[in-house]
Subunit: 108 residues, 2 copies
């Protein structure tokens, strides 16, 4: 899967976004991350794997625990894409040129 798709589909799940939100307040272990959710630990573990392979988090082994940290670079990839298109779309829709072009296309 391409990195951008991986990032967006990682972000598409509310549980994973909540995990990221929690991690924005500081690092946490898997059990700490799982605590607020009423899903099983293996389910959380899989969510973390998704976030990790999208490079949105990083894990450090620490005794038997695995501490999770945010990895902000990956979000930047998505952020760049969204910003680029945000800008393109706004221009594309504000521009008189495009407006006229659309009218012309719509006419034939």
């Amino acid at each position: 899967m391409d990195p951008l798709s991986a990032t967006f589909s990682a972000l598409a799940d509310p549980t994973r976004r909540a995990i990221l939100a929690r991690l924005a307040e500081g690092s946490a272990t898997v059990n700490e991350l799982a605590e607020p959710f009423d899903i099983s630990l293996p389910a959380v573990s899989r969510h973390l794997k998704v976030l990790e392979s999208a490079n949105l988090i990083r894990r450090e082994v620490e005794k038997q625990k695995r501490r999770c940290f945010l990895q902000p670079q990956a979000l930047k990839t998505a952020s760049d894409w969204v910003d680029l298109y945000s800008r393109m779309w706004t221009e594309s829709l504000d521009g008189l040129e495009k407006y006229l072009d659309d009218l012309k296309q719509a006419k034939d």
Copy 2:
């Protein structure tokens, strides 16, 4: 599905992102949008339905054709989320406070 999840999962598919990229250059009908892809028309039609229910595009009936247009507001929702977290994460990782907090958490 919540709007943010809908937007991110719509953006998670490369075909759909390509369709959006095409639409950034101007409106297009379903057949025009389908042309560059070697997937069937029904497949494209379903992708458009996904984009439409995420409010990323809008469709106008025009004789037998359906003209698709970008709908930039929805991207803004995603853009806002990404920007918020981008900012939070950067702060969270740059801040000495958080760094020390992480160290302390990591120690016990």
